[in-house]
Protein backbone atom coordinates (compact mmCIF):
# COMPACT_ATOMS: atom_id res chain seq x y z
CA UNK A 1 0.00 0.00 0.00
CA UNK A 2 1.12 3.54 -0.66
CA UNK A 3 1.66 5.90 2.21
CA UNK A 4 -1.82 6.39 3.69
CA UNK A 5 -1.02 10.00 4.64
CA UNK A 6 -0.11 10.73 1.07
CA UNK A 7 -3.31 9.16 -0.25
CA UNK A 8 -5.47 11.23 2.06
CA UNK A 9 -3.30 14.27 1.39
CA UNK A 10 -2.66 15.16 5.04
CA UNK A 11 0.22 15.80 7.44
CA UNK A 12 1.84 12.94 9.33
CA UNK A 13 0.84 14.65 12.51
CA UNK A 14 -2.83 14.90 11.63
CA UNK A 15 -5.34 14.13 14.36
CA UNK A 16 -8.21 11.72 13.98
CA UNK A 17 -10.56 14.58 13.28
CA UNK A 18 -8.39 15.86 10.49
CA UNK A 19 -8.11 12.40 8.99
CA UNK A 20 -11.86 12.06 9.05
CA UNK A 21 -12.34 15.42 7.42
CA UNK A 22 -9.85 14.62 4.68
CA UNK A 23 -11.45 11.24 4.16
CA UNK A 24 -14.93 12.69 3.83
CA UNK A 25 -13.74 15.21 1.33
CA UNK A 26 -12.11 12.57 -0.84
CA UNK A 27 -15.01 10.17 -0.42
CA UNK A 28 -17.30 12.82 -1.81
CA UNK A 29 -14.96 13.49 -4.67
CA UNK A 30 -14.55 9.90 -5.77
CA UNK A 31 -17.97 8.67 -4.84
CA UNK A 32 -19.06 6.26 -7.60
CA UNK A 33 -22.51 7.86 -7.70
CA UNK A 34 -21.01 10.75 -9.56
CA UNK A 35 -19.45 8.51 -12.18
CA UNK A 36 -22.47 6.58 -13.30
CA UNK A 37 -21.85 6.65 -17.03
CA UNK A 38 -18.47 8.25 -16.87
CA UNK A 39 -15.51 6.50 -18.48
CA UNK A 40 -13.48 7.45 -15.41
CA UNK A 41 -15.67 5.26 -13.29
CA UNK A 42 -13.17 2.42 -12.89
CA UNK A 43 -10.45 4.85 -11.97
CA UNK A 44 -12.67 6.52 -9.41
CA UNK A 45 -13.57 3.17 -7.94
CA UNK A 46 -9.94 2.27 -7.61
CA UNK A 47 -9.11 5.58 -5.97
CA UNK A 48 -12.05 5.12 -3.64
CA UNK A 49 -10.71 1.74 -2.63
CA UNK A 50 -7.31 3.22 -1.92
CA UNK A 51 -8.82 5.99 0.12
CA UNK A 52 -10.89 3.49 2.07
CA UNK A 53 -7.85 1.36 2.80
CA UNK A 54 -5.78 4.31 3.88
CA UNK A 55 -8.55 5.54 6.13
CA UNK A 56 -9.07 2.13 7.71
CA UNK A 57 -5.39 1.80 8.31
CA UNK A 58 -5.02 5.21 9.88
CA UNK A 59 -8.10 4.80 12.03
CA UNK A 60 -6.74 1.57 13.45
CA UNK A 61 -3.26 2.91 14.01
CA UNK A 62 -3.76 6.48 15.11
CA UNK A 63 -4.57 7.12 18.73
CA UNK A 64 -5.24 10.49 20.18
CA UNK A 65 -7.30 11.90 22.96
CA UNK A 66 -10.58 10.92 21.34
CA UNK A 67 -9.98 7.18 21.52
CA UNK A 68 -12.08 4.54 19.89
CA UNK A 69 -15.20 5.37 21.89
CA UNK A 70 -15.76 8.66 20.23
CA UNK A 71 -15.14 6.98 16.93
CA UNK A 72 -17.97 4.57 17.49
CA UNK A 73 -20.38 7.30 18.50
CA UNK A 74 -19.49 9.32 15.50
CA UNK A 75 -20.23 6.26 13.40
CA UNK A 76 -23.70 6.05 14.89
CA UNK A 77 -24.39 9.70 14.22
CA UNK A 78 -23.29 9.29 10.70
CA UNK A 79 -25.35 6.25 10.00
CA UNK A 80 -28.48 8.03 11.09
CA UNK A 81 -27.72 10.64 8.49
CA UNK A 82 -27.25 7.79 6.10
CA UNK A 83 -23.88 9.08 5.18
CA UNK A 84 -22.56 7.13 2.22
CA UNK A 85 -19.40 5.13 2.09
CA UNK A 86 -18.16 6.37 5.41
CA UNK A 87 -20.85 4.22 6.83
CA UNK A 88 -19.53 1.16 5.03
CA UNK A 89 -16.05 1.51 6.44
CA UNK A 90 -17.29 1.95 9.89
CA UNK A 91 -19.31 -1.20 9.38
CA UNK A 92 -16.13 -3.20 9.57
CA UNK A 93 -15.72 -2.07 13.12
CA UNK A 94 -19.29 -2.85 13.89
CA UNK A 95 -19.91 -6.02 15.85
CA UNK A 96 -22.59 -7.44 13.53
CA UNK A 97 -20.12 -8.00 10.74
CA UNK A 98 -18.38 -10.57 12.92
CA UNK A 99 -21.34 -12.89 12.51
CA UNK A 100 -20.86 -12.82 8.79
CA UNK A 101 -17.15 -13.57 8.76
CA UNK A 102 -17.51 -17.38 9.00
CA UNK A 103 -20.18 -17.28 6.30
CA UNK A 104 -17.85 -15.43 3.98
CA UNK A 105 -15.21 -18.06 4.66
CA UNK A 106 -17.68 -20.83 3.88
CA UNK A 107 -18.60 -19.15 0.63
CA UNK A 108 -14.96 -18.79 -0.33
CA UNK A 109 -14.22 -22.41 0.50
CA UNK A 110 -17.23 -23.62 -1.42
CA UNK A 111 -19.04 -24.92 1.65
CA UNK A 112 -22.39 -23.72 0.33
CA UNK A 113 -24.48 -25.93 2.55
CA UNK A 114 -22.88 -24.58 5.71
CA UNK A 115 -23.22 -21.00 4.53
CA UNK A 116 -26.87 -21.50 3.71
CA UNK A 117 -27.62 -22.96 7.14
CA UNK A 118 -25.85 -20.12 8.92
CA UNK A 119 -27.59 -17.50 6.82
CA UNK A 120 -30.99 -19.02 7.43
CA UNK A 121 -30.42 -18.96 11.17
CA UNK A 122 -29.77 -15.20 11.20
CA UNK A 123 -32.81 -13.19 12.11
CA UNK A 124 -31.78 -9.65 11.22
CA UNK A 125 -31.85 -9.35 7.47
CA UNK A 126 -29.75 -6.32 6.71
CA UNK A 127 -27.91 -5.35 3.56
CA UNK A 128 -24.97 -7.63 4.34
CA UNK A 129 -27.27 -10.59 4.87
CA UNK A 130 -28.94 -9.96 1.53
CA UNK A 131 -25.58 -9.57 -0.17
CA UNK A 132 -24.26 -12.86 1.18
CA UNK A 133 -27.51 -14.59 0.28
CA UNK A 134 -27.06 -13.25 -3.26
CA UNK A 135 -23.47 -14.53 -3.37
CA UNK A 136 -24.62 -17.95 -2.16
CA UNK A 137 -27.29 -18.22 -4.84
CA UNK A 138 -24.89 -17.01 -7.46
CA UNK A 139 -22.59 -19.91 -6.60
CA UNK A 140 -25.53 -22.28 -6.78
CA UNK A 141 -26.44 -21.01 -10.23
CA UNK A 142 -29.78 -19.67 -8.97
CA UNK A 143 -29.47 -16.44 -10.89
CA UNK A 144 -32.97 -15.11 -10.40
CA UNK A 145 -32.77 -15.33 -6.61
CA UNK A 146 -29.20 -14.03 -6.63
CA UNK A 147 -30.30 -11.00 -8.60
CA UNK A 148 -33.13 -10.31 -6.18
CA UNK A 149 -30.95 -10.47 -3.08
CA UNK A 150 -28.14 -8.42 -4.53
CA UNK A 151 -30.57 -5.77 -5.72
CA UNK A 152 -32.05 -5.64 -2.23
CA UNK A 153 -28.61 -5.32 -0.65
CA UNK A 154 -27.74 -2.57 -3.08
CA UNK A 155 -30.97 -0.71 -2.42
CA UNK A 156 -30.54 -0.98 1.34
CA UNK A 157 -27.05 0.43 1.18
CA UNK A 158 -26.31 1.97 -2.23
CA UNK A 159 -23.03 3.43 -1.05
CA UNK A 160 -21.37 0.13 -0.27
CA UNK A 161 -18.81 -0.51 -2.96
CA UNK A 162 -18.94 -4.26 -2.66
CA UNK A 163 -22.71 -4.40 -3.16
CA UNK A 164 -22.53 -1.90 -5.95
CA UNK A 165 -19.83 -3.85 -7.75
CA UNK A 166 -21.78 -7.08 -7.49
CA UNK A 167 -24.90 -5.31 -8.73
CA UNK A 168 -23.14 -3.73 -11.68
CA UNK A 169 -21.29 -6.92 -12.45
CA UNK A 170 -24.58 -8.70 -13.00
CA UNK A 171 -25.61 -6.08 -15.52
CA UNK A 172 -22.23 -5.81 -17.18
CA UNK A 173 -21.68 -9.50 -17.84
CA UNK A 174 -24.99 -9.75 -19.69
CA UNK A 175 -24.16 -6.67 -21.66
CA UNK A 176 -20.84 -8.16 -22.76
CA UNK A 177 -22.53 -11.37 -23.70
CA UNK A 178 -25.15 -9.64 -25.80
CA UNK A 179 -22.54 -7.43 -27.40
CA UNK A 180 -20.86 -10.48 -28.86
CA UNK A 181 -23.95 -11.16 -30.90
CA UNK A 182 -24.90 -7.64 -31.85
CA UNK A 183 -21.30 -6.70 -32.56
CA UNK A 184 -21.18 -9.38 -35.20
CA UNK A 185 -24.34 -8.17 -36.87
CA UNK A 186 -23.38 -4.56 -37.24
CA UNK A 187 -19.84 -5.25 -38.36
CA UNK A 188 -20.68 -5.55 -42.02
CA UNK A 189 -17.53 -3.97 -43.37
CA UNK A 190 -17.34 -5.09 -46.95
CA UNK A 191 -15.82 -3.77 -50.14
CA UNK A 192 -18.93 -1.81 -51.02
CA UNK A 193 -18.62 0.09 -47.78
CA UNK A 194 -14.98 0.84 -48.51
CA UNK A 195 -15.79 2.13 -52.03
CA UNK A 196 -18.48 4.46 -50.71
CA UNK A 197 -16.05 5.85 -48.14
CA UNK A 198 -13.38 6.45 -50.79
CA UNK A 199 -15.90 8.11 -53.07
CA UNK A 200 -17.02 10.41 -50.25
CA UNK A 201 -13.43 11.32 -49.46
CA UNK A 202 -12.82 12.08 -53.10
CA UNK A 203 -15.92 14.27 -53.34
CA UNK A 204 -14.86 16.28 -50.30
CA UNK A 205 -11.39 16.76 -51.73
CA UNK A 206 -12.84 17.95 -54.99
CA UNK A 207 -15.05 20.43 -53.17
CA UNK A 208 -11.94 21.91 -51.65
CA UNK A 209 -10.28 22.10 -55.02
CA UNK A 210 -8.01 19.09 -54.67
CA UNK A 211 -8.35 15.57 -55.97
CA UNK A 212 -7.86 12.29 -54.12
CA UNK A 213 -8.58 9.83 -56.90
CA UNK A 214 -8.13 11.28 -60.34
CA UNK A 215 -10.39 8.90 -62.23
CA UNK A 216 -13.46 9.65 -60.09
Amino acid sequence: MRDPYEILDINKSASRDEIKRAYKKLAKQYHPDQYNDNPLKDLAEERMREVNEAYDYLMKNTTDSFGSNSYNTSYNNNSSHNNSSYNYNANNNNHTSNNYQPIRMDLNNGNLHGAEQKLNSIKTRDAEWNYLMGMLFMKKGWHDSAHNYITTAYNLNPSNIEYRNAFNQLKRQNHTYRQNYYGKQTRDNDMCDLCVKLWCADTFCECMGGDLISCL
Partner: protein, 313 residues
Protein backbone atom coordinates in the same frame (compact mmCIF):
# COMPACT_ATOMS: atom_id res chain seq x y z
CA UNK B 1 -38.78 -28.69 -24.41
CA UNK B 2 -36.47 -29.73 -27.19
CA UNK B 3 -34.74 -28.00 -30.04
CA UNK B 4 -33.66 -24.70 -28.51
CA UNK B 5 -29.91 -25.25 -28.57
CA UNK B 6 -28.93 -24.70 -32.19
CA UNK B 7 -26.07 -22.92 -33.97
CA UNK B 8 -26.48 -19.44 -35.36
CA UNK B 9 -26.41 -20.51 -38.96
CA UNK B 10 -25.58 -17.13 -40.47
CA UNK B 11 -22.33 -16.87 -38.54
CA UNK B 12 -21.21 -20.44 -39.15
CA UNK B 13 -18.44 -21.32 -41.52
CA UNK B 14 -19.48 -23.80 -44.14
CA UNK B 15 -17.17 -26.42 -42.63
CA UNK B 16 -18.77 -26.01 -39.23
CA UNK B 17 -22.22 -26.13 -40.75
CA UNK B 18 -21.34 -29.37 -42.50
CA UNK B 19 -19.82 -30.69 -39.29
CA UNK B 20 -22.99 -29.98 -37.35
CA UNK B 21 -25.05 -31.69 -40.01
CA UNK B 22 -22.70 -34.67 -39.94
CA UNK B 23 -23.22 -34.97 -36.18
CA UNK B 24 -26.96 -34.63 -36.63
CA UNK B 25 -27.10 -37.36 -39.26
CA UNK B 26 -24.62 -39.43 -37.25
CA UNK B 27 -26.86 -39.18 -34.19
CA UNK B 28 -29.84 -40.30 -36.23
CA UNK B 29 -27.96 -43.34 -37.48
CA UNK B 30 -26.59 -44.04 -33.98
CA UNK B 31 -30.18 -44.16 -32.70
CA UNK B 32 -31.04 -46.57 -35.49
CA UNK B 33 -28.12 -48.85 -34.73
CA UNK B 34 -28.62 -48.83 -30.96
CA UNK B 35 -32.38 -48.84 -30.71
CA UNK B 36 -34.11 -49.25 -34.05
CA UNK B 37 -35.91 -47.23 -36.65
CA UNK B 38 -38.93 -45.93 -34.73
CA UNK B 39 -36.98 -44.07 -32.01
CA UNK B 40 -35.29 -42.05 -34.75
CA UNK B 41 -38.40 -39.89 -34.75
CA UNK B 42 -37.28 -38.53 -31.40
CA UNK B 43 -34.08 -37.06 -32.84
CA UNK B 44 -33.44 -33.45 -31.83
CA UNK B 45 -30.89 -30.65 -31.97
CA UNK B 46 -30.18 -30.41 -28.24
CA UNK B 47 -28.81 -33.92 -28.24
CA UNK B 48 -26.74 -33.09 -31.30
CA UNK B 49 -25.15 -30.34 -29.24
CA UNK B 50 -24.47 -32.89 -26.51
CA UNK B 51 -22.69 -35.11 -29.02
CA UNK B 52 -20.66 -32.21 -30.44
CA UNK B 53 -19.62 -31.10 -26.96
CA UNK B 54 -18.69 -34.52 -25.63
CA UNK B 55 -16.85 -35.47 -28.78
CA UNK B 56 -14.86 -32.25 -28.73
CA UNK B 57 -13.31 -33.29 -25.42
CA UNK B 58 -12.19 -36.68 -26.62
CA UNK B 59 -8.95 -37.24 -28.43
CA UNK B 60 -10.27 -39.98 -30.69
CA UNK B 61 -10.33 -39.36 -34.39
CA UNK B 62 -13.64 -38.96 -36.10
CA UNK B 63 -14.54 -41.23 -38.98
CA UNK B 64 -16.79 -39.85 -41.67
CA UNK B 65 -18.88 -41.71 -44.17
CA UNK B 66 -21.04 -40.68 -47.09
CA UNK B 67 -24.29 -42.53 -47.23
CA UNK B 68 -27.90 -42.42 -48.24
CA UNK B 69 -30.70 -41.53 -45.92
CA UNK B 70 -34.24 -42.89 -45.78
CA UNK B 71 -35.86 -39.50 -45.27
CA UNK B 72 -33.77 -37.72 -47.89
CA UNK B 73 -33.25 -40.46 -50.45
CA UNK B 74 -31.95 -38.35 -53.30
CA UNK B 75 -28.91 -36.79 -51.75
CA UNK B 76 -25.97 -38.49 -50.16
CA UNK B 77 -25.10 -37.13 -46.76
CA UNK B 78 -21.91 -37.01 -44.79
CA UNK B 79 -22.23 -38.51 -41.36
CA UNK B 80 -20.08 -39.52 -38.44
CA UNK B 81 -19.93 -43.20 -37.65
CA UNK B 82 -18.73 -45.38 -34.75
CA UNK B 83 -18.49 -42.55 -32.29
CA UNK B 84 -18.80 -43.09 -28.54
CA UNK B 85 -20.15 -39.62 -27.86
CA UNK B 86 -22.82 -40.13 -30.49
CA UNK B 87 -23.85 -43.46 -29.01
CA UNK B 88 -24.15 -41.90 -25.57
CA UNK B 89 -26.18 -38.99 -26.98
CA UNK B 90 -28.40 -41.45 -28.81
CA UNK B 91 -29.09 -43.17 -25.53
CA UNK B 92 -29.89 -39.90 -23.73
CA UNK B 93 -32.05 -38.77 -26.62
CA UNK B 94 -34.24 -41.86 -26.57
CA UNK B 95 -34.53 -42.04 -22.78
CA UNK B 96 -35.40 -38.35 -22.46
CA UNK B 97 -37.93 -38.60 -25.26
CA UNK B 98 -39.50 -41.58 -23.54
CA UNK B 99 -39.92 -39.82 -20.21
CA UNK B 100 -41.13 -36.68 -21.94
CA UNK B 101 -43.84 -38.77 -23.56
CA UNK B 102 -44.81 -40.33 -20.24
CA UNK B 103 -45.04 -36.82 -18.90
CA UNK B 104 -47.35 -35.85 -21.72
CA UNK B 105 -49.52 -38.85 -21.02
CA UNK B 106 -50.00 -37.69 -17.42
CA UNK B 107 -50.21 -34.07 -18.41
CA UNK B 108 -52.46 -33.92 -21.40
CA UNK B 109 -53.91 -37.39 -21.56
CA UNK B 110 -52.65 -37.35 -25.12
CA UNK B 111 -53.47 -40.53 -27.03
CA UNK B 112 -50.61 -40.00 -29.43
CA UNK B 113 -48.13 -39.82 -26.53
CA UNK B 114 -49.65 -42.93 -24.97
CA UNK B 115 -49.24 -45.01 -28.10
CA UNK B 116 -45.80 -43.72 -28.92
CA UNK B 117 -44.47 -44.17 -25.39
CA UNK B 118 -45.67 -47.81 -25.40
CA UNK B 119 -43.92 -48.37 -28.70
CA UNK B 120 -40.76 -46.62 -27.56
CA UNK B 121 -40.70 -48.70 -24.41
CA UNK B 122 -40.34 -51.91 -26.42
CA UNK B 123 -37.21 -50.47 -28.00
CA UNK B 124 -35.40 -49.46 -24.85
CA UNK B 125 -35.71 -52.74 -22.96
CA UNK B 126 -32.30 -54.12 -23.81
CA UNK B 127 -30.12 -51.14 -23.15
CA UNK B 128 -26.60 -50.80 -21.86
CA UNK B 129 -26.11 -51.73 -18.18
CA UNK B 130 -23.37 -49.13 -17.71
CA UNK B 131 -25.77 -46.35 -18.53
CA UNK B 132 -28.39 -47.53 -16.06
CA UNK B 133 -27.54 -44.75 -13.53
CA UNK B 134 -28.35 -42.12 -16.15
CA UNK B 135 -31.76 -43.61 -16.75
CA UNK B 136 -32.52 -43.76 -13.03
CA UNK B 137 -31.28 -40.21 -12.52
CA UNK B 138 -33.43 -38.87 -15.35
CA UNK B 139 -36.45 -40.68 -13.94
CA UNK B 140 -35.87 -39.37 -10.41
CA UNK B 141 -35.29 -35.77 -11.40
CA UNK B 142 -38.34 -35.71 -13.66
CA UNK B 143 -40.33 -37.14 -10.76
CA UNK B 144 -39.07 -34.27 -8.57
CA UNK B 145 -40.20 -31.85 -11.23
CA UNK B 146 -43.59 -33.51 -11.39
CA UNK B 147 -43.98 -33.20 -7.61
CA UNK B 148 -43.17 -29.49 -7.76
CA UNK B 149 -45.66 -29.01 -10.56
CA UNK B 150 -48.41 -30.75 -8.66
CA UNK B 151 -47.88 -29.10 -5.28
CA UNK B 152 -49.86 -25.98 -4.46
CA UNK B 153 -46.94 -24.32 -2.73
CA UNK B 154 -45.57 -21.25 -4.52
CA UNK B 155 -41.93 -21.87 -5.36
CA UNK B 156 -39.33 -19.57 -6.85
CA UNK B 157 -38.35 -19.82 -10.48
CA UNK B 158 -34.95 -21.15 -9.45
CA UNK B 159 -36.46 -23.87 -7.32
CA UNK B 160 -38.76 -25.02 -10.09
CA UNK B 161 -36.08 -25.03 -12.74
CA UNK B 162 -33.53 -26.77 -10.51
CA UNK B 163 -34.45 -30.43 -11.23
CA UNK B 164 -34.21 -30.03 -14.98
CA UNK B 165 -31.01 -27.98 -14.76
CA UNK B 166 -29.45 -30.55 -12.43
CA UNK B 167 -30.54 -33.34 -14.76
CA UNK B 168 -28.90 -31.68 -17.74
CA UNK B 169 -25.71 -31.11 -15.74
CA UNK B 170 -25.70 -34.77 -14.75
CA UNK B 171 -26.23 -36.04 -18.29
CA UNK B 172 -23.44 -33.90 -19.67
CA UNK B 173 -20.93 -34.64 -16.92
CA UNK B 174 -21.70 -38.36 -16.54
CA UNK B 175 -19.89 -39.20 -19.77
CA UNK B 176 -16.61 -37.86 -18.34
CA UNK B 177 -17.33 -38.68 -14.70
CA UNK B 178 -13.76 -39.74 -13.97
CA UNK B 179 -12.10 -36.71 -15.53
CA UNK B 180 -10.94 -33.62 -13.69
CA UNK B 181 -13.01 -31.23 -15.78
CA UNK B 182 -16.17 -33.02 -14.78
CA UNK B 183 -17.34 -30.12 -12.58
CA UNK B 184 -17.00 -27.55 -15.36
CA UNK B 185 -19.09 -29.80 -17.56
CA UNK B 186 -21.70 -30.15 -14.85
CA UNK B 187 -22.05 -26.39 -14.42
CA UNK B 188 -22.10 -25.82 -18.14
CA UNK B 189 -24.96 -28.28 -18.29
CA UNK B 190 -26.67 -26.86 -15.24
CA UNK B 191 -26.82 -23.39 -16.74
CA UNK B 192 -27.79 -24.66 -20.15
CA UNK B 193 -30.52 -26.86 -18.67
CA UNK B 194 -31.93 -23.94 -16.75
CA UNK B 195 -31.82 -21.87 -19.90
CA UNK B 196 -33.71 -24.55 -21.85
CA UNK B 197 -36.31 -24.97 -19.13
CA UNK B 198 -36.99 -21.26 -18.72
CA UNK B 199 -36.98 -20.33 -22.40
CA UNK B 200 -39.43 -23.16 -23.00
CA UNK B 201 -41.69 -21.89 -20.23
CA UNK B 202 -41.52 -18.37 -21.62
CA UNK B 203 -42.22 -19.57 -25.15
CA UNK B 204 -45.30 -21.46 -23.96
CA UNK B 205 -46.47 -18.83 -21.51
CA UNK B 206 -49.18 -17.31 -23.67
CA UNK B 207 -50.55 -20.68 -24.73
CA UNK B 208 -50.47 -22.12 -21.22
CA UNK B 209 -52.12 -19.10 -19.65
CA UNK B 210 -54.79 -19.22 -22.32
CA UNK B 211 -55.53 -22.86 -21.61
CA UNK B 212 -55.64 -22.20 -17.89
CA UNK B 213 -57.99 -19.29 -18.37
CA UNK B 214 -60.31 -21.45 -20.36
CA UNK B 215 -59.89 -24.17 -17.76
CA UNK B 216 -60.83 -21.75 -15.03
CA UNK B 217 -64.07 -20.84 -16.77
CA UNK B 218 -64.85 -24.44 -17.49
CA UNK B 219 -64.09 -25.58 -13.99
CA UNK B 220 -67.04 -23.60 -12.76
CA UNK B 221 -69.18 -25.62 -15.08
CA UNK B 222 -67.89 -29.13 -14.71
CA UNK B 223 -66.05 -28.94 -11.36
CA UNK B 224 -63.25 -31.11 -12.65
CA UNK B 225 -61.14 -28.44 -14.29
CA UNK B 226 -60.89 -30.53 -17.40
CA UNK B 227 -61.29 -29.07 -20.84
CA UNK B 228 -61.64 -31.71 -23.51
CA UNK B 229 -59.90 -34.11 -21.19
CA UNK B 230 -57.02 -31.68 -20.71
CA UNK B 231 -55.87 -30.74 -17.26
CA UNK B 232 -54.64 -27.41 -15.97
CA UNK B 233 -51.31 -26.62 -17.60
CA UNK B 234 -48.33 -25.93 -15.42
CA UNK B 235 -46.04 -23.11 -16.46
CA UNK B 236 -43.01 -22.41 -14.32
CA UNK B 237 -43.01 -18.66 -14.97
CA UNK B 238 -46.72 -18.27 -14.37
CA UNK B 239 -46.56 -20.40 -11.23
CA UNK B 240 -43.59 -18.68 -9.64
CA UNK B 241 -43.89 -15.04 -10.59
CA UNK B 242 -47.53 -14.28 -11.28
CA UNK B 243 -48.57 -13.63 -7.71
CA UNK B 244 -51.28 -11.14 -8.59
CA UNK B 245 -52.83 -13.44 -11.17
CA UNK B 246 -52.46 -10.91 -13.95
CA UNK B 247 -53.63 -11.43 -17.51
CA UNK B 248 -51.04 -12.58 -20.02
CA UNK B 249 -50.35 -9.23 -21.65
CA UNK B 250 -49.81 -7.27 -18.46
CA UNK B 251 -47.86 -10.08 -16.86
CA UNK B 252 -45.58 -10.65 -19.84
CA UNK B 253 -44.74 -6.97 -20.03
CA UNK B 254 -43.97 -6.89 -16.34
CA UNK B 255 -41.56 -9.81 -16.25
CA UNK B 256 -40.02 -9.72 -19.71
CA UNK B 257 -36.84 -8.01 -18.52
CA UNK B 258 -36.48 -10.30 -15.58
CA UNK B 259 -36.76 -13.43 -17.71
CA UNK B 260 -34.40 -11.91 -20.24
CA UNK B 261 -31.92 -11.27 -17.44
CA UNK B 262 -32.07 -14.83 -16.12
CA UNK B 263 -31.74 -16.33 -19.57
CA UNK B 264 -28.82 -14.15 -20.57
CA UNK B 265 -27.07 -14.88 -17.28
CA UNK B 266 -27.51 -18.62 -17.78
CA UNK B 267 -26.20 -18.39 -21.34
CA UNK B 268 -23.28 -16.25 -20.21
CA UNK B 269 -22.32 -18.72 -17.48
CA UNK B 270 -22.51 -21.75 -19.74
CA UNK B 271 -20.14 -19.94 -22.07
CA UNK B 272 -17.81 -19.18 -19.14
CA UNK B 273 -17.64 -22.87 -18.29
CA UNK B 274 -16.99 -23.74 -21.91
CA UNK B 275 -14.00 -21.41 -21.70
CA UNK B 276 -12.58 -23.54 -18.90
CA UNK B 277 -12.58 -26.72 -20.97
CA UNK B 278 -9.75 -27.85 -23.22
CA UNK B 279 -11.38 -28.53 -26.54
CA UNK B 280 -9.68 -30.85 -29.00
CA UNK B 281 -12.02 -30.12 -31.88
CA UNK B 282 -15.28 -28.37 -32.82
CA UNK B 283 -14.19 -25.22 -31.02
CA UNK B 284 -15.74 -22.72 -33.44
CA UNK B 285 -18.94 -24.66 -33.64
CA UNK B 286 -19.36 -24.83 -29.86
CA UNK B 287 -18.62 -21.15 -29.39
CA UNK B 288 -21.05 -20.34 -32.15
CA UNK B 289 -23.79 -22.29 -30.40
CA UNK B 290 -23.27 -20.97 -26.89
CA UNK B 291 -22.35 -17.43 -27.85
CA UNK B 292 -24.57 -16.67 -30.83
CA UNK B 293 -27.03 -19.51 -31.21
CA UNK B 294 -28.55 -19.04 -27.76
CA UNK B 295 -28.73 -15.29 -28.23
CA UNK B 296 -30.41 -15.71 -31.59
CA UNK B 297 -32.95 -18.07 -30.10
CA UNK B 298 -33.69 -15.60 -27.32
CA UNK B 299 -34.23 -12.87 -29.86
CA UNK B 300 -36.67 -14.97 -31.78
CA UNK B 301 -38.55 -16.04 -28.65
CA UNK B 302 -38.68 -12.47 -27.34
CA UNK B 303 -39.75 -11.39 -30.84
CA UNK B 304 -36.83 -9.01 -31.24
CA UNK B 305 -35.42 -10.66 -34.31
CA UNK B 306 -35.58 -9.40 -37.87
CA UNK B 307 -36.37 -12.84 -39.17
CA UNK B 308 -39.91 -14.02 -38.58
CA UNK B 309 -40.22 -17.43 -40.16
CA UNK B 310 -37.03 -19.14 -39.39
CA UNK B 311 -36.60 -22.66 -40.65
CA UNK B 312 -34.39 -25.16 -38.90
CA UNK B 313 -31.05 -26.00 -40.44
Amino acid sequence: MFGYVTPCKMELKIKDYEKFKAYYCGLCVAIKNNFGNVPRLALNYDMTFLAVLLDSLSEDKRSLKKSNCVIHPLKKRILIVDNKALNYSAFCNVILAYYKLLDDVDDKNSVKAKVFSKVLNTYIKNENIKLQPVKIYIKDRLNDLRKIELSDEVKSLDEISHPFADLTGYIISFYYREKSFNQSLYWLGYNLGKWIYIIDAWDDLEKDMHINKKGLIHSHLNKKGLIHGQQKKFNAIDASLNKDKLQYKEFAKLIEDRIDFVLTTCAHHSLQYLNKLTLNKNEDLLYNILQLGLMEKMNSVFKRSEVNNERPL
